[in-house]
């Protein structure tokens, strides 16, 4: 059972996706159920990963390895540690609501829609479980194709502009990463990620390699100032596309920092950490203000995502300042813990927020805040969910949104009071843009005749939001299991990144 589990999680959705594609729009009823069965089966199969995970070691588990391209010494090498596992679970979990949410809403080429998401699921699991850098790169790039299609086919009126912008940005970043990977392959003679992490590199080499990774991951997560593709992509993407984009794809950037940039180029990271921290804090403060004035709900949530991702990059890069400032490593792990929890939590909350917007968009076909008002009068159940997720988005204790931000703020205080000061402004800004949105959309008297016709959630929508709400609350009330899974891997990572590679 253990062996092949990760492969199953990668290939099952892809095979399921091909099957859905083969069934086609003419047999859409069956195709839908196949899609749902595949998504549920993938999620259920990912649970043994968690159950069987040994939380006492930082070593990779569920490892599979076989030769792939012998000419390049690249192998099909899979495995997860405490950093990858939560993201794999997040991926398999989030795909289910995406499939259900698209159930009858998608009218154009529905079979292809479901197929694209299933195939993407497999590829994303591949990204998080690849232990061979070339394999990682393969999944990383392949995953762009279904997302490109999702925005390009089912997107809004400016979808062509948005897809191209999205592609341009991410491709440009990735190309630098490929160059760095090839350079290191030439040094190490292997694409094995662990080997690359252990590869001794001089400072200049590290510097350029770090910048190459930075280009790829900063775009993906995204960081200021390479974030402008995200609001456009979100606005044009269909609901499911936005959900996957926000919930999972952004996390690849954070994962990349933790898996590649930090352990492979620790000395360069130490040199450049102030830059990364500064950009992260800009994301929290500057983007917070930008989010405040958005008139389009999806754009607002997209900007909110960027601000929340600022906490991820901030948490990842605190270790160096903490080590020099306090002379000990206590707290460095907390920053990374916080970053990880923030990624998982944002996966759930942003998914829920985009689904909420989707629920409204499906009814009134507008994303403009001004097109709504007093929605709760007609949709009380929906209003309750929306308020819950908005509270989670503003970091309310008891919801998952609090955990990561709290840990990162505490850790950043250890690095520098002013980091914590600026990071903590999210308490005000996050609440301001999220709850102002709620005030204008959900509360108040019925805004117009269209709002007056709204129908409350149907069973499917209720189920999807309820599942996400349960996740948000569970993670907020009892995050210990998640932290426990991560602990050895995070400690190992902290040791890696504070150990100089320089001779």
């Amino acid at each position: 059972m253990q062996a092949g589990l990760l492969s199953t999680l990668i290939w099952l959705p892809i095979v399921g996706g091909v099957l859905v594609l083969a069934l086609g729009d003419s047999r859409i009823a069956l195709a839908r159920w196949v899609a749902l069965a595949t998504a549920v089966a993938s999620f259920l199969l990912s649970l043994p990963l968690y159950m069987g995970f040994d939380t006492s070691t930082a070593a990779f588990q569920f490892v599979e390895q076989m030769p792939w391209i012998p000419a390049f010494n690249a192998s099909y090498h899979l495995g997860v540690d405490g950093i990858a596992l939560p993201l794999v679970l997040l991926t398999t979990f989030v795909t289910i609501p995406v499939v259900i949410a698209g159930w009858t809403v998608i009218e154009k080429r529905p079979a292809q829609y479901f197929a694209a998401f299933l195939i993407m699921e497999g590829l994303m699991v591949g990204v998080f479980s690849a232990l061979d850098a070339l394999l990682f790169y393969f999944f990383w790039e392949a995953m762009l194709i279904p997302m490109f299609l999702i925005i390009g086919i089912w997107g809004g009126p400016r979808r062509v502009y948005a897809t191209l912008k999205f592609f341009l940005y991410t491709f440009l970043g990735s190309v630098f990463m490929l160059v760095a990977l090839i350079y290191m392959y030439l040094q190490a003679g292997s694409y094995d990620i662990v080997a690359l992490q252990e590869l001794p590199l001089g400072f200049d080499e590290q510097f350029w390699i770090f910048l190459a990774f930075f280009a790829a991951f900063a775009v993906k997560i995204p960081m200021f100032p390479v974030h402008t593709w995200l609001p456009d992509a979100h606005v044009e993407a269909p609901t499911g596309g936005s959900v996957v984009l926000a919930a999972i794809m952004l996390k690849m950037g954070g994962y990349g920092f933790l898996r590649f940039a930090l352990p492979i180029a620790p000395d360069a990271a130490r040199e450049l950490d102030t830059l990364v921290i500064a950009l992260s804090l800009v994301a929290v403060v500057y983007i917070g203000f930008v989010a405040l004035v958005q008139t389009d709900m999806k754009k607002l949530i997209a900007y909110s995502s960027i601000a929340h991702m600022g906490f991820v990059t901030l948490g990842c890069f605190l270790a160096f300042d903490i080590a020099t400032g306090t002379g000990s490593l206590a707290g460095a792990g907390m920053g990374i813990d916080g970053a990880m929890v923030q990624m998982v939590s944002h996966g759930l909350i942003s998914a829920a927020m985009f689904l909420c917007v989707g629920v409204m968009y499906d009814r009134l076909h507008s994303r403009e805040i001004s097109a709504y008002g007093g929605v709760i009068n007609r949709m009380p159940m929906f209003g309750a969910f929306m308020v819950l997720f908005a509270m989670a988005n503003s970091g309310l204790p008891g919801t998952s949104g609090f955990v990561g931000e709290f840990l990162v703020i505490i850790a950043s205080f250890k690095a520098n009071f002013w980091y914590a000061f600026l990071a903590a402004t999210t308490l005000i800004l996050g609440a301001a843009y999220t709850l102002w949105l709620v005030k204008r959309v959900i509360f108040g008297p019925v805004g117009n005749v269209h709002v007056a016709t709204l129908e409350d959630l149907n069973g499917r929508e209720f189920f999807v939001l309820a599942v996400l709400a349960a996740g948000v609350l569970l993670l907020g009330l009892w995050p210990a299991p998640l932290l426990e899974v991560m602990q050895p891997s995070v400690q190992h990572l902290v040791e890696q990144i504070v150990t100089s590679k320089l001779p």
């Binding site: 194709i145 062509v160 502009y161 341009l168 916080g338 007093g374 205080f413 308490l427 995050p479 995070v490």
Partner: protein, 672 residues
């Protein structure tokens, strides 16, 4: 013997369970079941709290301090949910559950026509749970949990009537202003973890003396004492929740919520969380003179200047709200003078008489068919006798009438700050002393305008014939019908609250303030212990009350009442002349010192302007326009050309590309 943790859990979780039942299943179980289940749960929580309190005070059980469950462990720092049940927490638990119980009962009457009946009960039960978690906590994180949770319920309740624009403006404002306080609170917590590596009160308290010797460099040239940094950050949190100047602006607006919650949340319990917090952290604050001076000045300012605003307001609820602000200022002054016991004592007596005043105001509002303007009231005393009598009791307690509860708690605050030699104490002393006159004045202005004098509720009839006397036969003044006394579910809580308002001060002042009631729960350094100094002059509550004739506060209060009587009953024309004479001053008061104006026009508008600037100039013009456009346009046109060639085939092509890639990968795998 030690306390039974499952009893403690039951106390906290009963209201939560009831809230879930009433909130999620309210539609199915119906209105009666919703209030039965929540009232039963809160009532049981009160009984159990009282029992625990009795066991603790009688020495039957020890102070409880233990973990319930581990929330998470990160990097060796354990974050836990746990209870610290000592003399301070049991007092708070009893006050919270008792007032909450009264408010639950009252709500049956107040909200009986409201379609959101079950939802309301669910919220107030949830609030009780959150408040209990706050006061029972043994660590900073859970305190913050409860802190935010009560804030959310307050947000939901202020905006309970969500179609009312003023209500949803007020709840957003309340949440955001509180978040400004929480911003400081979180930094304070982070500072505690930085120095102690723990979130436990115990560890932080143990480290306090040493932190007083430690410096923290905020910038290369500015170094502050670590304990001062921690205490001021934490106190900023308290300023938000307990509505101290300048973070007080949300409390008057919170009156948009239904009256029961104004009594429960915005008078008796939630707003006192900040007072409780500072008292709980007395072992920390004691080591920072600077922080305590800051507390004194903020408290004194709030006590006096918010009282002035009560004088000019005509909304009965808002007058009580400004009174609450002012009384919170008194408590804060007591904290700043190291008289934590006096602050908590005033918190307790205030909880009873202020809840009483709010509920009485609510009763008047029901009687007046949802009219809140005191200018349209008058002469209600005869029509609403129970409300009027209980309101008089509350008012007398508030202004510090000897023997009544407010007398003891307020007088000792004034005495304590008089004894204090801390920087800022003189200022605070004059503020609280003058505040006595102001309190008596606005309180009895309200009482006289509402219950006495000529009835003015005929004036506001639909025919617009105001300013003239009407015949007594015209009783269709406002909303139809003569004002009437409220039903028993409304008046019973008034009576229940009137009893402690009368007697609790007399009965408990000696043990609570001078009998070492708080034990180790409150720690005061010997040099700061002003209450110990006062203990020398105190013999028994009766003789202390009699000795009041020799002290200024009694005479100030009396002159306040007389002034209110003269200006609002005897010679109302005089009050108009005074208002005209002090017109510029009046304008400042009417505009509430322009705090709202500044918040609205500088902070809110400024943030929006900044956001637009960043968005338009930064994101759109600079990043997208200058950096991305060129390349994007280039690629865009290229891609456009390619796309034309491929039209109709692109999608299937891409799918085949994916399948091909997957197949290629599989092929490599099988081959090797």
């Amino acid at each position: 013997m030690s306390m039974n943790p499952s009893v403690l859990l039951t106390i906290a979780l009963l209201p939560l369970a009831a809230a879930i039942v009433a909130g999620l299943f309210g539609k199915w179980i119906g209105r009666t079941a919703a209030h039965v289940v929540t009232i039963a749960a809160v009532g049981a929580a009160f009984v159990l709290s009282a029992r625990v309190a009795w066991q603790l005070i009688s020495g039957e059980v020890q102070v409880f301090n233990d973990t319930v469950y581990t929330w998470l462990v990160s990097d060796g720092v354990r974050m836990e949910v746990g209870f610290l049940i000592d003399e301070l927490s049991v007092l708070m638990m009893c006050v919270v559950t008792f007032v909450s119980f009264c408010v639950h009962v009252y709500t049956i009457g107040y909200m009986h026509e409201d379609p959101g009946y079950q939802r309301f009960f669910a919220y107030i039960s949830l609030f009780t749970f959150a408040m209990l978690m706050l006061v029972m906590s043994n660590n900073f994180m859970q305190l913050f949990f409860g802190w935010e949770a009560v804030g959310v319920v307050s947000y939901l309740l202020i905006g309970f009537w969500y179609t009312k624009p003023s209500a949803i403006f007020a709840n957003l404002k309340a949440f955001l202003v509180n978040r400004v306080g929480d911003f400081g609170f979180v930094l304070g917590i982070a500072a505690v973890v930085y120095y102690t590596g723990s979130l436990d009160y115990r560890d932080a308290f143990a480290a306090a003396p040493q932190l007083a010797q430690t410096g923290y460099a905020l910038t290369s040239s500015l170094e502050v004492s670590a304990i001062t940094l921690i205490c001021i950050c934490l106190f900023i949190g308290a300023m938000g929740k307990s509505a101290q100047v300048p973070l007080h602006v949300w409390l008057p607006d919170s009156m948009e919520g239904p009256t029961p919650i104004s009594a429960l949340i915005h008078a008796a319990t939630m707003v006192t969380a900040g007072i409780f917090m500072v008292a709980r952290f007395s072992p920390l604050f004691e080591h920072s003179e600077a922080a305590l001076s800051f507390v004194l000045v903020v408290g004194g300012t709030t006590a006096l200047f918010m009282g002035f605003l009560g004088i000019v307001n005509n909304d009965i609820k808002r007058v009580v709200a400004y009174s609450t602000l002012s009384q919170l200022g008194y408590m804060t002054v007591a904290l700043g003078a190291s008289a934590y016991g006096a602050a908590i004592f005033h918190l307790m007596t205030h909880a009873f008489f202020k809840a009483l005043l709010f509920l009485a105001a609510g009763s008047v509002i029901i009687g007046m068919h949802h009219e809140q303007d005191m200018r349209k009231m008058g002469g209600l005393g005869k029509l609403m006798p129970i409300t009027a009598v209980t309101c008089w009791i509350g008012a007398l307690a508030l202004i510090g009438t000897p023997f009544l509860s407010g007398f003891y708690s307020k007088d000792f605050i004034i005495e304590a700050v008089h004894e204090s030699t801390r920087w800022g104490a003189t200022y605070a002393y004059w503020c609280v002393l003058l505040g006595v006159f102001v309190t008596a004045f606005y309180t009895f202005r309200m009482v006289f305008m509402t219950f006495h004098g000529k009835p003015r509720w005929h004036d506001a009839d639909p025919h617009g014939e105001d300013g003239h006397g009407h015949g007594d036969h015209d009783h269709h003044g406002h909303g139809g019908g003569t004002p009437h006394e409220s039903p028993w579910v409304v008046t019973l809580p008034l009576v229940l609250l009137a009893i402690p308002s009368l007697a609790i001060g007399y009965l408990t002042v000696e043990p609570v303030l001078f009998g070492g009631y708080f034990g180790q729960a409150i720690q005061v350094l010997e040099v700061n212990d002003v209450l110990a100094e006062l203990a020398g002059h105190f013999h028994d509550p009766a003789s202390f009350a009699l000795s009041a004739v020799g002290h200024p506060p009694l005479w100030l209060a009396l002159s306040g009442v007389v002034a209110a009587w003269y200006l609002y009953l005897k010679n109302p024309a005089m009050s108009d002349r005074l208002a005209a004479f002090f017109a510029p001053l009046r304008r400042v008061l009417d505009n509430k010192y322009y705090f709202d104006w500044v918040n609205e026009n500088v902070f809110a508008a400024g943030s929006r302007a900044l956001g637009r600037l960043f968005w338009k100039a930064g994101d759109q013009a600079l990043i997208d326009g200058a950096l991305v456009n060129g390349s994007a346009n280039l690629v865009g046109s290229l891609a456009g050309a390619v796309r034309r060639v491929q039209t109709g085939y692109l999608y299937s092509y891409a799918f085949w590309m994916m399948i091909g890639l997957a197949g290629l990968l599989a092929w490599f795998l099988l081959l090797s």
